[in-house]
């Protein structure tokens, strides 16, 4: 279908500091005991997209990711790993691999997207409108009730940052305005020109940009070349394209047609014009066309390009792992309501690995996941939590709403609530954690109590 897929896997994200580290870069962060990148790659594989470019920030991370991919998708996917320097932003990453891009259209997917929206839908919408960019929008995930109660002040400050103000045309096909959270705090400016052309704009804040884009390659490359200041696809490139859609500068959508005309003989040019006229008259005009045509109906006077939106249906699941809160939510959803994302099917609504050992009177509630090789002592309770592989959990331990990664040792009598505990952490006896993040390899001493803190080993 002439599409190239670029997965922007990221590297060590600052938003997720205690969770990600040099050893565990963001793409490998386990979600329900699978690296988050798995969900994207799996989704792409399902859609029959087997040639991928995965862009990772940092060479070490790239090696790790590459190793994991080649181990997991041995011969199923054909993946090229590209390592780019850190902190060059998503636009910079695309710039860096620009010379690899050859197809007409490019699908850019963020590596931290956990979704069941078929990428084909975005691509199809893109093709249908012959758009320059098509962005997938999905409804903002609602944090579960348990979350809203327990989420600390930290999360609240982050929340506004995830909002987008998005303007759509009445048909919900075109993107008229997009502003990310940071800009909203100032006044938001709508363009009069666009408003006038469309006549009506629907402004929504319940949608979020899922960071799955289809770009027209030629336009994307030209924009990136010309504007060195553009850093991020989401915050710079997309708003730029949306803003300039009626006075396109890069704008190539007319050029191919011109080329065609040039190739034809002069005599037949007239006919070509007539054919294109017939086609144009028969198709439903978008406001771009109406706007670009001067009032006497003669040749187009302004170049335009189309920015489309694909709105994922509300029944589909779509979330981005870009904060600790989101990490918790996704873990919970993937084991719970969105469990179709995991290909494994279990009869009960929890997933317990084959070689786990449970002590007597230990209960594992619904929406839980226990990795293989984990051992639990007597009288433990696990609710809505994910526990990784080869964990050793003592008796009288309570784990609620938490994520426990691999090789974690938890002593007797610990109570863990709403927390994330990374790999190789050691919790000694009677530790009480509430809304904490514990970085990899950390040792929590016996009897300590923490609330809403992030614990990590100090980097030397």
């Amino acid at each position: 279908m002439d599409f190239q897929v670029v997965v922007l896997a990221g590297g060590t994200s600052k938003n997720l500091t205690p969770l990600v580290s040099k050893e565990v870069p963001k793409p490998l962060l386990p979600v329900a005991n699978r690296p988050v990148l798995y969900y994207v790659l799996h989704q792409l594989e399902q859609s029959n997209l087997k040639d991928l470019i995965v862009v990772v920030e940092g060479k070490d991370a790239a090696l790790l990711v590459g190793g994991w991919i080649s181990g997991t998708f041995v011969d199923r996917l054909h993946v090229e790993i590209a390592a780019v320097p850190e902190d060059i932003g998503s636009a910079g990453a695309i710039r860096a691999i620009s010379h690899h891009l050859t197809a007409n259209d490019i699908l850019v997917v963020s590596g931290d997207l956990v979704s069941d929206v078929p990428p084909g839908a975005v691509a199809a919408n893109h093709r249908r409108h012959d758009a320059v960019v098509t962005a997938m929008l999905c409804s903002v995930p609602i944090s579960g009730p348990s979350e809203s109660g327990s989420s600390g002040g930290k999360d609240k400050t982050k929340k506004p940052g995830r909002y987008n103000i998005i303007g759509l045309d009445p048909g919900k096909q075109f993107l008229l305005h997009i502003a990310t959270g940071a800009e909203i705090e100032k006044d938001t400016r709508l363009q009069k020109r666009i408003l006038r052309a469309v006549g009506e704009m629907e402004i929504r804040s319940d949608l979020m940009d899922a960071h799955m884009y289809a770009f027209k390659r030629s336009v994307l490359q030209e924009v990136l070349d010309r504007k060195d200041t553009l850093q991020s696809l989401k915050q710079d490139v997309l708003p730029y394209l949306v803003r300039s859609q009626l006075k396109s500068e890069a704008l190539l959508n007319r050029i191919p047609r011109a080329e065609e005309n040039g190739n034809e003989k002069v005599s037949s040019q007239n006919n070509q014009v007539m054919v294109s006229q017939i086609l144009a008259n028969a198709s439903t005009p978008s406001f771009h066309d109406l706007c670009s045509v001067s009032h006497d109906g003669s040749a187009p006077i302004r170049k335009t390009h189309k920015c489309c939106a694909y709105i994922a249906s509300s029944s589909s699941y779509c979330a981005r792992l870009n904060s600790i809160q989101a990490f918790m939510d996704i873990n919970r959803d993937v084991t719970g309501e969105a469990d179709h994302l995991l290909s494994s099917i279990s009869d009960h609504n929890n997933i317990v690995g084959p070689s786990t050992k449970l002590g007597t009177k230990t209960t594992v509630g619904p929406h839980c996941m226990l990795g293989e090789g984990s051992e639990m002592g007597d009288k433990c309770q696990v609710k809505r939590s994910v526990i990784g592989r080869h964990c050793r959990i003592g008796s009288h331990v309570k784990v609620v709403n938490s994520v426990v990664m691999n090789h974690v040792t938890i002593g007797d009598g610990c109570i863990i609530q709403g927390s994330v505990i990374c790999s190789n952490v050691q919790l000694q006896e009677r530790v009480v954690l509430k809304d904490c993040q514990v970085g990899a390899g950390f040792v929590v001493t016996a009897g300590s109590e923490y609330k809403g803190e992030s614990l990590a080993r100090k980097e030397k």
């Binding site: 279908m1 859609s47 029959n48 084909g120 839908a121 006919n271 008259n281 028969a282 198709s283």
Partner: protein
């Protein structure tokens, strides 16, 4: 005897045709053939009371068991004359052959007798009859196989007599017997047809009575026999012809397009589902009369198709895009759809490379076929597109094999360009010239919907400086007229806009009606946007000339009398909802039970009878609707050779 069983299973009408080929090899065949002639003789006898008396007798059972003939007699029991004839044959049997040989008509009668019996369709009789049929049918089969012999036998009137005799002599030889049978078969077929016609008159009740109700059966049979007689005479002559006709018929069959998918035929729909890219939705809640039409797909298919985007590699992106545009209704209008499709094919051909160990001609044809079926799933093709596809396929098939791949592709691309230029663009230009001569100063022209040719005509006439006014008639839900109106007004034409409801009012002031067409069928029927027929009819009533403007590539050899058997269903919701008018959306919020009572019908096309059409303006000039077949005939030749 095997044959008998088979026949029962097969529908009655077919039996004759089916059996004939098989029969000849069998020995019984010849015997029966002999019996055939006697039977033919029998009709004369039938008049005699003796024959009647015979019929009630037990004769039938034995025969029926042993011989086909017997079976026939079994059927005879009805006192009616026809039956009598049969009995006579039974009784006379061999002797009849020799004696009867003189009478030429008899052979046909045999057929008649059988046919009439069949038509009676009385259950009891029926079975018995079947064997009789076989007998008759067998000879026919033999005949078919040896067409060469026929001419000799048939040539003279007397010849008829001879063949039966020959048969007697050569009984052993199946071949000899065949010729005589042949005659009978032909006759039988005719007889069958006629008798069936007669049978229609007969009610089922009669059939049931068959055992006892002789009277009713008689009435049926008699007429059939009479009818049969004339055909018998001719049958000889026709039998000769058969050999010649056959091949021609076969060719004709090839030409005939395969029957259209009937969406109320469950088994076929099931098969189609398995094949199709899109998942077909059940045609629920549609009007009974239109259930055979493909259900409208937009709402349900779009998300599915979108999600499958990357899985359809074999569909070229250009084709996919066009399909999507059809599906969403972004692109409509016969010419535009056709051009878009051809251009997509052109692109697909440019990007095409023959896979190893395949030939371009075959592989490309199947590839195009795949594209076409994909497009059909998105939206049914218009007839004009069917013509274009046929053109393209014939071009591919006729590519000289010497050409290299790149040459072949270039040739095809230029062919497509030429088709677009000559058949659409140039044709439009010619039509515009022609039609513009019919526009005079002071005219008021009415058009319906949005036809690109009509638009061009109007603009051209305006450029010529003619003074006229345009009435654009439009209708929900498409409201295509508005787009046309916008463009016309932009060019400075003075326009009136009204909806179809007001057509009878506005028609007073109109002097000419210009309409476009999706297709013109060979009986002069114009197949066009729904509503066209009403416009044409009103215009006819007001004695306003109706000019149909249509390119010749849209002509089709099909004949259609109504807009039911072939049509397209639009989105039913489109007529139920009026966008932007919340106050009239009474149909929203119906409960499920209420919805069951509601059936929405959004037809896209209708057929305008040729009576209402004054003239068709096409690229071959201005013609009356009666001349369409001529264009179809001449034009098809041309564009296949292009």
């Amino acid at each position: 005897m095997d044959a008998r069983r088979v026949t029962r299973a097969v529908p009655r009408v077919r039996q004759v045709g089916f059996f004939t080929p098989n029969a000849p090899p069998e020995q019984p065949g010849p015997v029966r053939s002999q019996s055939g002639p006697p039977n033919s003789n029998s009709p004369p006898l039938s008049g005699s009371p003796a024959s009647n008396s015979l019929s009630p007798v037990m004769i039938p059972p034995p025969r029926h068991l042993s011989d086909n003939l017997g079976a026939r007699t079994g059927a005879v029991p009805v006192p009616g004359r026809a039956n009598a004839g049969d009995h006579a044959t039974v009784g006379s049997y061999n002797p009849a052959d020799s004696v009867l040989g003189l009478e030429s008509p008899p052979p046909t009668r045999i057929g008649d007798g059988e046919s009439s019996e069949e038509t009676e369709s009385s259950l009891g009789w029926y079975r018995r009859n079947n064997p009789a049929k076989f007998a008759s049918s067998f000879p026919g089969g033999g005949f078919d196989l040896s067409p060469v012999k026929q001419p000799e036998i048939v040539s003279g009137v007397e010849a008829k007599n001879q063949p039966p005799e020959k048969n007697e002599v050569q009984k052993g030889q199946a071949s000899s017997s065949k010729p005589s049978k042949a005659k009978t078969t032909k006759a039988e077929r005719r007889a069958l047809q006629e008798s069936q016609r007669a049978a229609k008159a007969a009610s089922k009740a009669e059939a049931n009575k068959s055992g006892g109700g002789a009277a009713s059966s008689k009435t049926v049979k008699q007429p059939s026999q009479k009818k049969d007689a004339p055909p018998v005479a001719s049958s000889v002559a026709t039998s000769e012809r058969i050999g010649v006709d056959r091949p021609a018929e076969k060719e004709r069959k090839k030409d005939v397009p395969p029957p259209r998918m009937q969406f109320d035929d469950e088994s076929r729909v099931g098969k189609a589902k398995r094949r199709s890219v899109l998942n077909q939705t059940e045609a629920r809640n549609s009007i009974e009369l239109f259930r055979h039409l493909p259900p409208h797909k937009n709402g349900t298919q779009l998300p599915y198709l979108e999600s499958k985007f990357f899985e359809l590699h074999d569909k070229h992106p250009a084709v996919y895009k066009v399909g999507l545009q059809y599906l969403t209704g972004d692109l409509s209008g016969g010419n535009a759809r056709c051009i878009a499709m051809l251009q997509a094919f052109q692109e697909a051909i440019r990007d095409y490379s023959t896979p190893p160990e395949k030939t371009l001609i075959r592989d490309l044809t199947s590839k195009i076929g795949g594209f076409v079926s994909f497009l059909i799933e998105c939206r049914p093709l218009s007839m004009s597109m069917g013509n274009a596809i046929r053109f393209l396929k014939s071009r591919i098939a006729k590519l000289p094999p010497i050409l290299s791949e790149s040459e072949a592709k270039a040739a095809l691309c230029s062919d497509i360009d030429r088709f677009i230029n000559e058949k659409i663009v140039l044709a439009d230009k010619v039509i515009v010239r022609h039609a513009a001569t019919k526009i005079r100063d002071g005219d008021v022209l009415l058009t319906y919907g949005s036809s690109c040719v009509v638009e061009m005509i109007l603009l051209y006439a305006h450029e010529l400086g003619k003074q006229f006014r345009v009435v654009v008639v439009d209708s929900r839900p498409m409201l295509e007229g508005k787009k046309l109106l916008r463009r016309l007004v932009a060019k400075g034409l003075s326009c009136t806009y009204t909806h179809l409801n007001a057509i009878s009012y506005i028609m007073h002031e109109v002097t000419r009606v210009l309409l476009g067409a999706s297709s013109i069928l060979s009986n002069g029927t114009v197949y066009s946007r729904v509503g066209t027929a009403s416009v044409a009819m009103v215009a006819y009533a007001y004695r306003v000339p109706v000019l149909i403007c249509c390119e010749a590539y849209k002509f089709h050899e099909r004949v259609q009398l109504d807009s039911i058997c072939f049509n397209e269903l639009g989105d039913p919701d489109a007529i139920a909802k009026v966008p932007g008018r919340v106050d009239v959306n009474y149909l929203d919020n119906l409960s499920d039970k209420q919805k069951e009572n509601l059936k929405l019908l959004n037809l896209k096309y209708d057929a305008t009878p040729s009576d209402y059409i004054s003239m068709i303006v096409t690229d071959y000039g201005m013609i009356p609707p009666t001349s369409v077949p001529v264009i179809v005939r001449e034009y098809r030749k041309e564009y296949l050779l292009i």
